[in-house]
């Protein structure tokens, strides 16, 4: 009987251990999930205020005196509360529309970052006198927070209140276009060669080992490659979308090769044999049968590879894409920046007003990436064939 009670106590102990183990496994996944929730909540909390922008209703006078000193165009007490970005544009406005000369217009104008921070109840460097003016404006309904559309149609700026992501978005589009242009065809061709044509010899094995190693090389090393080869040897302009696109293309290549190979190898051999049986040449087998059947897989892999490239920053910093780019680039050799690099440069500035914009930029970037990945998953689920 003593033996029996001992055995029972052992079983009890073992179940305690089992529960502990199970609990810690669940705990691990809970930590990971709650990190994600905390992280997303934190970014949103930091960034959502940037959706709004403070504007002040004021009179703008257009005459010779105000053209010389644009601070005079608005009431004196307001001149230090409005964005210098707007005041600077007054001469250009008059040039574009000469009828404005000699008139006084009452309109809403973007306030500067300090006022904006004050209105959002965040730390700011306003003096008490200025705060009094703002409170007076608030009482008169002459200050308001509106939708921050400028964030999407302005380029970068040294003034946080008028800094936007337009130039970075255009840069990202250029870079991604170039990345896709180089990496997808070359990647798919390599995969087709390795999977369908390559004989099993040392050359093929070298390429395979090499691709696996390339996939594991830190991204920053690709930046060094881009700097040393594309920029210093081939004379590609520094900071250009071309330099960034080529660098990211090489970085994305292994991802596309590996996923395409998986897609190709999931096409069963009897399809190939059937096509060969009716006299198709090796290339016709691939072009008419294997490639169309594996297209969804190739597409999914390419999207995932490009999404990865889209979030990449380190190699682009090395090829100089962290430059200050207020205007959207118009060509692939113009200096450009991309969204992640813009996020980096903004987060490196000491001005607090940039923080919320950085976070909003992150939200934009994350949404785009999420959509890309969702598209990839949808393609996979919709077209994936079970053989």
């Amino acid at each position: 009987m003593n033996k029996e009670t001992r055995r029972l106590s052992i079983i009890k102990k073992r179940y305690r251990q089992e529960n502990m183990f199970k609990f810690s496994a669940i705990f691990a996944i809970i930590i990971a999930s709650s990190f994600l929730v905390f992280f997303l909540a934190n970014i949103s909390k930091t960034g959502y205020t940037a959706i709004q922008q403070t504007e002040i209703l004021t009179e703008v006078t257009y005459n010779d005196a105000t053209l010389k000193n644009t601070y005079r165009a608005v009431p004196r007490e307001l001149s230090r509360l409005l964005s210098r970005g707007f005041l600077r544009l007054i001469p250009r406005e008059v040039k574009a529309n000469p009828e404005l000369m000699g008139t006084t217009v009452t309109r809403w104008i973007v306030a500067n970052a300090e006022v904006d921070q004050y209105m959002k109840e965040k730390p700011n460097r306003l003096k008490s006198k200025q705060i009094a003016i703002i409170e007076k404006l608030r009482a008169e309904g002459k200050i308001k927070k509106t939708l921050n559309t400028g964030f999407f149609y302005n380029g970068d700026s040294k003034l946080p209140e008028i800094a936007g992501i337009l130039s970075a978005v255009v840069g990202t589009i250029y870079v991604m276009f170039l990345t896709m242009l180089f990496s997808v065809p070359i990647g798919v061709m390599t995969a087709v060669y390795l999977e369908e044509f390559a004989p099993d010899n040392w050359f093929t094995r070298t390429i395979e080992v090499n691709i696996n190693n390339l996939a594991a090389i830190p991204s920053i090393i690709f930046g060094l490659l881009g700097l040393a080869i594309f920029i210093n040897i081939f004379g590609v302009p520094r900071s250009s979308a071309l330099a960034g696109g080529l660098t990211l293309a090489l970085m994305t290549l292994p991802v596309i090769i590996i996923t395409t190979r998986t897609a190709l190898s999931s096409v069963p051999d009897n399809i190939r044999q059937g096509a060969q049986g009716v006299g198709a040449s090796p290339w016709q087998v691939v072009w008419h049968h294997v490639l169309p059947l594996s297209l969804p897989g190739i597409l999914t892999g390419s999207i995932i590879g490009l999404a990865q490239a889209m979030g990449e920053t380190a190699p682009l910093l090395i090829v100089g894409m962290l430059a200050y780019i207020p205007e959207a680039p118009t060509g692939i050799t113009d200096a450009a920046t991309v969204l992640p690099a813009q996020i980096y440069t903004w987060s490196a500035t000491s001005l607090r007003a940039y923080t919320e914009r950085t976070a909003l930029g992150i939200m934009v970037l994350l949404s785009v990436l999420l959509m890309l990945n969702a598209a990839a998953v949808m393609i996979r689920n919709k077209f994936e064939r079970k053989w």
């Binding site: 073992r14 502990m20 183990f21 199970k22 810690s24 496994a25 705990f27 691990a28 996944i29 930590i31 990971a32 999930s33 990190f35 994600l36 934190n42 970014i43 065809p185 070359i186 061709m189 087709v192 060669y193 070298t206 691709i211 190693n213 594991a216 090389i217 830190p218 920053i220 090393i221 060094l224 490659l225 040393a228 080869i229 040897i233 081939f234 004379g235 090489l250 290549l253 292994p254 090769i257 040449s281 090796p282 290339w283 999404a307 889209m310 979030g311 920053t313 380190a314 910093l317 090395i318 992640p340 996020i343 980096y344 987060s347 950085t358 992150i362 970037l365 994350l366 990436l369 990945n373």
Partner: protein
Amino acid sequence: MLKVLLYFFIGVLPLCYMAFYLGRKKARTGELESGERFHSRPAQYGWYTVIWMAVPSLVISFIFTILGSSKIFAVPYSMHISTLLVLAAGGLWFSLKNIGSDLKARNFIENTIKVMLVTASLVSIITTIGIVISILFESMKFFSHVNFFDFITGTKWSPDTAFLEGAGRDGSSASKPEFGSVPIFAGTFMVTLIALFVAVPIGLLSAIFMSEYATPKMRGLAKPILEILAGIPTVVYGFFAAITVSPLVVQTAEMLGFEADYTNALSPGLVMGIMIIPFVSSLSDDVINAIPQNLREGSLALGMTRSETMKHVIIPAALPGIISAVLLALSRAIGETMIVVMAAGLRPNLTWNPLEGMTTVTVRIVDALTGDQSFDSLETLSAFGLAFVLLMVTLILNIVSSVVIRKFRKQYD
């Protein structure tokens, strides 16, 4: 960009179509006149003509462009164009002349395609060679100034004097620049170690949860969460580490009576740990699932609980795979750049205290290459020296990891 596209659409494409049309027509009329069937289909003769006309001239044009942009030899524009025209016309003439009943146009096309495919797969080899050469070459320059042994064992990193030299100031009055990389590698080591302390237990236990305890529904929820963690750009993690985690760490340390820098090694380490959880968990999940079911049943049939089966049978059997997963995660952490650039310090600091600011290899590389230094300055070159070591370490980790996992897979195939 637009110009190139324009040339392509109004120049190259119509020319190609013309060649195709001529080749196909010649084959068709040939078949009709002679009454015999040619070796290949008429359209294939059309493609044959296109290849002969376009490929040589495009290749030459590409080579000329490369020569020009790399400033080896700038081919004059007139010469470039005339060469192209001669080549294209010659190719067209030659191919049209050759078309006849015995010409194996289909085989020619297939071979051309194969050559193109092989060329494409050479790009990845050339990339590797490019990486090795560019980094080796530049780091050689660096190591001709700085003794490799001093670089590996030195404990003082003060390139500032090198900066003065690079900026044109006389360096003789200043002290000699020192490039002892130990403090930098120590920083990388510290951050990586913290990351592994976070990622290995959480990642492994998550994998165990998903393969052993989760219902399909929970698995369907947990897997995307981990995948999202893997898909967040590193610059975003970096922002989070710098803006949120660092102040938290500093406050917590203060509460506990410690002193912490805002550029402490702990915050980037923690965040990096979260970042590499998916690497550990997804690979471990794979290997745990690769363990044959009968091993699991064998243990359960002996009256083992799930955790006992896990601890005594599955994990020991899956250990090589798990080790290889950890090595991959380690290599990823060592090469990770943005998190440390944004949240770790710039100052090399040899310490065991993770609350102090430390710098890492990747931070120094970025710092050296994004400054306003000339490309040949010693500090710029030092980035390549560091990158060389980084490349070697990650390559070795990757190779060891893939050897281990291959052995593991062989065992259970």
